[in-house]
Subunit: 201 residues, 2 copies
């Protein structure tokens, strides 16, 4: 447990890696666009809320200022090359939906907020607030509609998010989610619950 | 791409799973304590800032109100049983440091903020603001000191966070981080850079 003090930096890890879709209202910003974001987090349970942080220089930033909200689209490994591209290219220069062969779709609660049809799980969010923090502005938003790909649902309608093969991000690298190590509360669960929920252990 | 609308909930995933350590100033809250948190996120790069969300009912909440800050301690798979326990037990009932056999340590920038010596990477944070959102309060904090276990550093002092075997959280389950799938920007990298950074591909 010998320690070295290293320079303060953005080393919270692992963090989500998601594709945020948005469109503005003015002509210059109306085209649906995608930005890849790792500075995102769940911030509240009731109501369900999340945060994303976006730099002012990004094309999406202006769209977020005009829009009622945005969608957070989770991405599996199969979408990773497109997700990476959407993090390094600008919507000022290319149409990321068409460039990546992705499909714009719209939910019913926020009919002007695009989501990505190819995403396994899309969280449509209504923006609640915006706070400048320095390099980034923090957008807080309420999750008002969730669209799940049917392949993630079993016959009883239960969600199996592990089927999405989500990608995690840590210190500049993308990681696959590997083995399930346990469920919340497993350390104090009864033998009966453990046998039911973690039969392999 | 057939979709089903599911109930809005906290389905951003994968999210971090970290052990937050704090202590208050009053006698009742002075004992160092740990809370496990998945509602955490990176929110800013310059200065480096993160967020954690905590329910008012939690013992740690009162400590955070009194303290100058807190530490965010990343956890590898070897710490998972302890991390899970710190998420379901209350510091009102048990001393989580002693119960889990964990060691309190202190940095130099925030000498009254405890961190967990067994954590591979501890981010010591100064609280900047607190916002009630509903079920949770959102704490924004600046990362002011980072303590890395020497085992994560190579001879040149470069950080190898993949050695920490970090744990991710998604929809109530803990996941191991698996294979490295790429680095930020790999989709547009030159063949030379790809050969250097992803020689196995």
């Amino acid at each position: 447990m010998e320690k070295t003090i290293i320079k303060p930096g953005t080393l919270l890890a692992p963090v989500p890696c998601v594709m945020v879709a948005a469109q503005g209202k003015s002509e210059a910003l109306a085209k649906p666009n995608i930005i890849t974001i790792a500075w995102a987090g769940q911030v509240n349970s009731q109501p369900p809320m999340l945060s994303i942080s976006v730099q002012k220089i990004r094309h999406t930033y202006g769209q977020l200022l005009e829009a009622e909200g945005f969608s957070v689209n989770l991405a599996g490994q199969n979408l990773l090359p497109k997700m990476d591209l959407c993090g390094v290219k600008s919507g000022r220069d290319i149409d990321k939906f068409s460039e990546c062969g992705l499909t714009t779709a719209y939910g019913s609660v926020l009919p002007d907020v695009p989501y990505i049809a190819e995403s396994p799980l899309s969280l449509c969010c209504r923006t609640v607030s915006r706070q400048p923090l320095g390099s980034h502005d923090l957008f807080l938003a309420e999750i008002v509609e969730i669209l799940a790909d049917n392949s993630l649902l079993d016959a009883d309608g239960a969600l199996h998010l592990e089927r999405a093969k989500l990608v995690s991000f840590a210190h500049g690298q993308y990681f696959a989610l590997g083995d399930i190590l346990g469920f919340f509360g497993y350390s104090v669960a009864s033998p009966e619950v453990l046998a039911r929920r973690m039969p392999e252990k």
